[in-house]
Amino acid sequence: MAKIKGAIVVNKERCKGCRLCVVACPAKVIAMSKQVNSKGYNYAQMANEDACVGCASCGIVCPDGCISVYKVKVD
């Protein structure tokens, strides 16, 4: 059965750590980093990589457009 795999790339410097993507993710993929970016925000990152299905909900709700979403079908 074809399976969908996804991945996100977060623009760490642009992220303001609002956590709206964490709330929006239906697969609980995203968590906030322990590190901070140059502005002092904890940025979003993929914590549970295998669960991502590339639905792009995180990217859609991100107010700063930090998230790029990739999706691929694997057989």
Partner: protein, 260 residues
């Protein structure tokens, strides 16, 4: 399959629109403005009309919108954006002319301009960000502030005997013959953002098809002004703002009911 195999240009399904530049936005973390800016950028790119768009920025938090979207912008005096939009539309009728205004701009100081621009019925689009508070100046009471809502200038909650009632200006604009499409949307979830995008697209199409004034109200959060975290602000908005400002189309006389 590793992450590197997935992250390839051909697998890209979502990214920041190109006309939204890389300048960091001055908005607070979690502010709805960023989402609405992004939606406008996406819709303009999809309609392939970036070169023929003139936006009018308000006074308020979105005053610097011209820094973030690479389209033509004009800056209006506080509340005067709809008057300026009508002037530009009459001089350049083939351009897509829209205003981007907050509730202090549109519903307080700009009430007269808004109502008369909507009554004249030139094909402009008004994007109205309603967060029930004056965000930029530090969270004072706005005309749209809810009954009992605490702000810097009504610390015990809005008292309707003293301060009047929340102004549902979109409901007023609906009654005017110059408006063709009046809708109220929100951007707090991915589903809501998709709906709001459809509404903005429809409003912009009405604009270039010269159908009349389209008003898209976006019920938004101001987490700094409301003194809540972004996620709590979204919950608060669902509980308190939506009963007062119910979402959905208020008026649609364009004969095309695709955008719901």
């Amino acid at each position: 399959m590793t992450i590197e195999d997935i992250i390839k240009p051909e697998n890209l399904v979502y990214k920041k629109p190109d006309i939204m530049n890389d300048r960091p936005m001055h908005y607070c973390p979690g502010c709805s403005h960023g989402v609405v800016h992004k939606l406008i950028a996406e819709v303009l790119e999809e309609m392939d009309i970036v070169e023929d768009t003139i936006g009018i920025t308000p006074v308020g938090c979105a005053v610097f919108a011209y820094n973030y979207l690479d389209i033509d912008w004009e800056e209006a005096a506080h509340g005067r954006a709809p008057a300026m939009a009508v002037a530009i539309k009459r001089l350049r009728p083939n351009k897509l002319v829209f205003t981007y205004q907050g509730d202090g701009d549109l519903a307080a100081i700009g009430t007269a301009e808004t109502i008369h621009a909507c009554n004249r019925g030139d094909s402009i689009t008004i994007i109205f960000i309603n967060n029930g508070i004056y965000g930029m100046t530090g969270g004072q009471m706005a005309p749209t502030t809810l009954e009992g809502m605490k702000t810097a200038t009504c610390p015990y909650g809005r008292n309707t005997r003293l301060n009047g009632y929340p102004l549902k200006i979109t409901n007023l604009l609906k009654e005017l013959d110059g408006t063709c499409y009046v809708t109220r949307q929100s951007v707090h979830t991915a589903a809501a953002v998709r709906k709001a995008k459809k509404a903005i697209r429809k409003a912009f199409e009405n604009n270039i098809n010269q159908k009349g004034v389209s008003v898209v109200e976006i019920v938004s959060t101001c987490n700094s002004g409301w003194k809540l975290s972004p996620e709590k602000a979204n919950e608060w908005m669902e509980e308190n703002m939506f009963p007062a400002y119910p979402l959905g189309d208020l008026k649609d006389t364009t004969g095309d009911n695709q955008a719901k």
